[in-house]
Symmetry: D4
Subunit: 251 residues, 8 copies
Amino acid sequence: MKTEIKAILEAVQSGELSADEALLRLKQAPYEDLGFAKVDLHRRITQGIPEVIYGESKTPEQIVKILQTLRDSGQDNILITRLSEEAAAQIAAETELHYYPEGRIGMTGEKKAPDGIGRIAVVTAGTSDIPVAEEAAITAECFGNEVVRIYDVGVAGLHRLLSHMEEVMSASVIIAIAGMEGALASVVGGLADCPVIAVPTSVGYGASFDGLSALLAMMNSCASGVSVVNIDNGFGAGYLAGRINHMEAKS
Amino acid sequence: MKTEIKAILEAVQSGELSADEALLRLKQAPYEDLGFAKVDLHRRITQGIPEVIYGESKTPEQIVKILQTLRDSGQDNILITRLSEEAAAQIAAETELHYYPEGRIGMTGEKKAPDGIGRIAVVTAGTSDIPVAEEAAITAECFGNEVVRIYDVGVAGLHRLLSHMEEVMSASVIIAIAGMEGALASVVGGLADCPVIAVPTSVGYGASFDGLSALLAMMNSCASGVSVVNIDNGFGAGYLAGRINHMEAKS
Amino acid sequence: MKTEIKAILEAVQSGELSADEALLRLKQAPYEDLGFAKVDLHRRITQGIPEVIYGESKTPEQIVKILQTLRDSGQDNILITRLSEEAAAQIAAETELHYYPEGRIGMTGEKKAPDGIGRIAVVTAGTSDIPVAEEAAITAECFGNEVVRIYDVGVAGLHRLLSHMEEVMSASVIIAIAGMEGALASVVGGLADCPVIAVPTSVGYGASFDGLSALLAMMNSCASGVSVVNIDNGFGAGYLAGRINHMEAKS
Amino acid sequence: MKTEIKAILEAVQSGELSADEALLRLKQAPYEDLGFAKVDLHRRITQGIPEVIYGESKTPEQIVKILQTLRDSGQDNILITRLSEEAAAQIAAETELHYYPEGRIGMTGEKKAPDGIGRIAVVTAGTSDIPVAEEAAITAECFGNEVVRIYDVGVAGLHRLLSHMEEVMSASVIIAIAGMEGALASVVGGLADCPVIAVPTSVGYGASFDGLSALLAMMNSCASGVSVVNIDNGFGAGYLAGRINHMEAKS
Amino acid sequence: MKTEIKAILEAVQSGELSADEALLRLKQAPYEDLGFAKVDLHRRITQGIPEVIYGESKTPEQIVKILQTLRDSGQDNILITRLSEEAAAQIAAETELHYYPEGRIGMTGEKKAPDGIGRIAVVTAGTSDIPVAEEAAITAECFGNEVVRIYDVGVAGLHRLLSHMEEVMSASVIIAIAGMEGALASVVGGLADCPVIAVPTSVGYGASFDGLSALLAMMNSCASGVSVVNIDNGFGAGYLAGRINHMEAKS
Amino acid sequence: MKTEIKAILEAVQSGELSADEALLRLKQAPYEDLGFAKVDLHRRITQGIPEVIYGESKTPEQIVKILQTLRDSGQDNILITRLSEEAAAQIAAETELHYYPEGRIGMTGEKKAPDGIGRIAVVTAGTSDIPVAEEAAITAECFGNEVVRIYDVGVAGLHRLLSHMEEVMSASVIIAIAGMEGALASVVGGLADCPVIAVPTSVGYGASFDGLSALLAMMNSCASGVSVVNIDNGFGAGYLAGRINHMEAKS
Amino acid sequence: MKTEIKAILEAVQSGELSADEALLRLKQAPYEDLGFAKVDLHRRITQGIPEVIYGESKTPEQIVKILQTLRDSGQDNILITRLSEEAAAQIAAETELHYYPEGRIGMTGEKKAPDGIGRIAVVTAGTSDIPVAEEAAITAECFGNEVVRIYDVGVAGLHRLLSHMEEVMSASVIIAIAGMEGALASVVGGLADCPVIAVPTSVGYGASFDGLSALLAMMNSCASGVSVVNIDNGFGAGYLAGRINHMEAKS
Amino acid sequence: MKTEIKAILEAVQSGELSADEALLRLKQAPYEDLGFAKVDLHRRITQGIPEVIYGESKTPEQIVKILQTLRDSGQDNILITRLSEEAAAQIAAETELHYYPEGRIGMTGEKKAPDGIGRIAVVTAGTSDIPVAEEAAITAECFGNEVVRIYDVGVAGLHRLLSHMEEVMSASVIIAIAGMEGALASVVGGLADCPVIAVPTSVGYGASFDGLSALLAMMNSCASGVSVVNIDNGFGAGYLAGRINHMEAKS
């Protein structure tokens, strides 16, 4: 990874570059060339990992423009999160786009074929948590993971969760999604022996305080092996689960 | 219950009391005589229900004095909550007192014999919740309830809770006590079909915020049949459970 | 309750089932068959207890579908909470439904005849609390409880509350509903000698913080015998009150 | 009140002062001389109103020094609030001081004779609120008010409050002091027709959050005529009550 | 005030009433007859004090109905707060109503002629605080107080406040209204020697948290003589100021 | 600056003014004449510093009126912040106005030519922070500062920030604008050796709590030389940066 | 994993066990035998994974007792977290114990030899975060992970972090530990391409609110691949990192 | 500033360094050599700017060690903040140290002679704020600034502040320090035309919430030109004020 900066230095050594030119190059070169950062674009393209656009506050026009730029640089797999159905329709009128309405995700190019260590289980407490769950699930799928969905198995009806224990127990990573009191994370965390990513959701009313109660509960989980992402952050959970499911030794 | 005020009025009618004297008496008489409140002292004595002293900020001397006054009025069964071991020793040197160190409760007189509808199950998530649980359990026992203690069955080790399900399921009232994320209340609430009183505790650290996280989680319980009392309020839970366990038709 | 699992085991013993088949059955069987949970559906049908659908985020189409499924399984008494007038109209166009607009509750089938220990008093501080109160009252009625409504008796006009003391005092369970400073719960809790369920409401403005102030006040009630449910959770209070009002010894 | 600045101007007019000297004097003169502020010291001395020292973070030495300075300027009536027993003893060793241990107030000079419109009633919910109440009561007395103390009449035992209604109703100003859920302010505010000053206290535990719950409840009081001061601010309540009790027309 | 109950007792004494009838009468009689509460309606009518309706969540139809009922009982002076312009128009179509759009107050009958001790000064920090100020000012006027309005004199432009000091200093009561950091209350409180009622407003953005910051600042005012009402509670401040401005000795 | 009051005094000395007239004049004169405040209007006009109108809650009509008044007093450079596109169009129809839609700022007159010590760098973490950044940048420009904009250089892509370090390092003042976790302020603060003004924005979702998280993070910045203004307060940051960039010795 | 229950069933089939005995056995058998949970003890012993005791509120005597019990069941590798130096000394007097004072961890038995996928980097912002970091690092080491410690590289001195980028970039999992504004997590998360576990610490003062600010900042991290555990929860981070570092396919 | 990296490159060009050696050097060299950061140590020594040690959680031994290391590298001017009197005495026993007890600051070497643009005014609301003020003042002095102290001029006694207006108005930078309601910042900000740094302090009780109320108030200051640092962060304010007071053009 440090080859580019070394190449610059060798060019100086060989007289191809003056010290001044090298200094300029070092500044202009992507930061990662200096040894402290990754070359996002290149590595990703070779690995087929999609680029991600956070669609929340962007207009369809802006998104189309970014898509074009990324494709021009050779990146065809692009994920757009928090994309409304209307915006998706507008974008699809101008360029190829597959839209997943449940997870509010748009995608260009192909989903990466599953090549992770195992399966990712996406588990929700209620049916209202499903949009967040789909954001997580589709994200994970796009990044090359097999996903098993286990929805509406909140702890107030423990038998429903327990009847799916085999799928839960055989997962490599579990994403536990719940609003209200967020107890699902602790129960799943206590049963499972793999990493559990907890996602608090803004589902609930009154003292749920838009997900704060679930967030606090999950932070306090008495089960080991549980960590937490932001309220309603399905994408973040799906992305991190994918990273964990693709763990491998670095040479 | 309205007899005392009626007696005053009859005394006026019969000439025993003047209107002025009656007016005075009505004012001095306990408020409940007027029809809108219970005659605490009398009813309690006849029913053997103990009087309760909140010991937190009282000196041993003050407590001894209150005990004397209550006994003088015929009340022998007295519960003192939040009583430190040292204070209890000082009090015991001057008057009869049984002290329960785990629940920090002192008692004079006899525990009322169990005469409730069924058993009260006191369930805790961890071992650190036990002092609150004992405050609840001993309170319930003093008020004439049979109590079964099921401690350290937090949801992160679900099998421990499930292995006690028979005792839990056969209870009339369940007191679910937990700190940290307070998930126990939801899980127990989902399994049980009796009233569940949830007690958040200040057990935990960091984002437990001295019980606030558990309180919020319990308020948001997705299980029906769960209600919540103040953080660490074992007495309140035990007292309320006893009330529920003594439900009976009013004529 | 443990008969089904015992039956499976006896079938193995008698050779009717192989060990493998039994293992499969044990997994497929409802969790409660294994002894740690209640057989919701069956018990409820025989007891006439209605099933409950939380209508908040469900479309009329989804609700109609769930109604059909439940009825197909023999459940005719179904409660739908948080149901808007428009949604109710759409559902009623397709299937039998009784709608209570004040409490935003829809119901199919008959209200269960009152068979509880006593009456449930539903008390509110103001007129703005009435929708929550009706959610509680209708829920309690549907679950077989007699309900007495005492509305607009907030503590700032104490005489109004006191003039209803006889009804309050003769109740088996009291549901105290208030927003703003939530003081009603403490005053009622101090007067009554039955279980009191406090419901904070989001009524108020400014420092009421959408019910948080009332919730905190109620959690701190200096009166014994008071417990709290979530902000605006009329259903939860009505359901729990019904449970308490149907307390009976378990054999 | 504008006499001093007018005097300076007249001295200029008469030639006694040059414009430059007058400018200097105007700057050195107390700000209030210019017409926009009160001449604290002078008015107070003539009226016998005591000066107040907030003793919390001051050493006995510092307090003795301030006392000397004030006395040297002719002020003999001085109130020291939040004064510990030990500090009071140290001060009393060096100068005349009367100490009120319940309210943690020290005073030099004489209490001003009561000359207000009526009586100030200081009402508390519990016995733990008494130190705050005494701070309020003694402050009010020192500022020339008659005070009636009505302690331990919290709303959970409404009859105790109601049995003191005559004293409460005949007060000119009421100070309602309560921790926990702070409901006393609303109940008193609903009964009384005089200004009510509510003082939340840090009495309580768990969800009382050191007085925050009481403060919020009091801010939301549904009773008109109630305003709130800071948690445990007995002095502020007593001082304000005194001001109100000395209302008179300004010419 | 205790005459009615005494009359009942005398009627019993004289044989006019049986004890049973007296008991009934005592219960039906307004609570205040028993000595612990005021006879709102009667006293108010004789004094010309208006009745108040909180209009926030009421329909124009409901308000018209309440108006009728009150008038039928002889009460002609009625204040309706938090009344939108549209609702006011609808009500005015059916009954006499004067509407003050700035303060969102409707009134029937005449404003009570000023008969207080002095003037009430209503002071605001900014122009956005004026609606709350008008609610306070009109309320105070309706209750028989002379009001002086001093708007947009926030502490960031201190000279504007100081240029109105004479009006401020000559007031009997000051209502200080401010959002954002709420500093106005402290500055006014420091300058004035009369009671100051602080009203935090929801004016501001970001860390103003809808008035919470102003509320906390005002609670912490370092100036003596300041108390606080709820965020945006102009009515409460105006009403309380009126009470203070009508202080008089009770016989 | 103290000349005006001295002039009044000299007029008294010379007999031109009586003491009474002088007293009146002193009161009517702008407060700053007395020596404790600045003569805003005059100084500003001479210096070409624009007057600022906070447009948030003002109608176009009100703004037009204020513009007229200010111009009549000779002030032509006027900034209107938080001005919507529609309001701007309405105002522009009646009077000269330049509108900057990105920063929601309207301006009359000319931008002051840059005359500060150096350049102000406005740096944002994301693209959603740009509206706040433009409010800051345009404000600074209007007050006579050269501004360099460096947008979308959040710390999650550190190389983007580092590739602009030269511009950042050569700035006199840096405005660091970020929502979500607000880490940009600390990173910039650690790199720079000039004053850094941090602006938290309400950009984010879930646990960003409308900017509270960013605000708290920025308050805790481990980097020295960082201070914070209110959430989304681009104007405040731009104004303060301009002040710092115009530091000069006072004689 | 399902062998034990199958064995029970086969024993029934073969007549070794009656149905009743089998029922009893099924109940007594660890819950996980039924297929929905892991057999903690057995699996752990075979794998050499240590058992963990949370030492916070346990007496040395209690800990010694638990150690004995675990060893009796064959478990020799036991970790005790939150163990004070004094308690460790008392325990060491009675049984073999290795104590790590920096991380407040005691251990019996041998650290498991590193057998994970790669290295775990433990990174802290300041020196005050080191105790939490050591808790994480030692935990990870005890669970068979190689750990590299990179301390005191907070973002306010970015060059220190960047000079360690090679170690950071080559890690399999990163634990980012910071108090105050917690920006380290975002910066590390943006640079790294492996899972990042963020640990907020209670380091700081004022608006750090005992770690809340860092927690909120980390929850809002704009970098993907970051998740968060409780404040000061070094153990949880170390344990989870170890789990991720031991990811492998499940057959 | 980019000379060091250029020197490395020239050494490569000239053959003094191989590319590999240069790469190593670039990594080992301080980050700022690469062009994006300042060379702290060197620049500071030449400018006489002291190095700062945050003493809070460091032992005297640790501090002595750091002092030695810094001195060995040629840095003699070192500031130690949050240093207790006891720790200072221990350090002074081993090495030269001047201790300022009021500000809890220790210093080695000489205070830098004042060479800023103007004076820094340090203003406090009360006497309890003085320790924070002294931390700010001494810090500023050590960094070469003239400081004027104006203490105990809170807004509740506005005349005290106004009588010091000349000193305040003539300052280049003002540090406004206040606890409780923090109104001082707004008042000073409104009067001054220079940058104002507001420091909330934890002075107060009850609803001051350890400085949170003051912090929020200051964040909402309606005065332009005010920014805020952390609660009790006197050092940060003094350091930033010094930076602003040393503003100069960068070539």
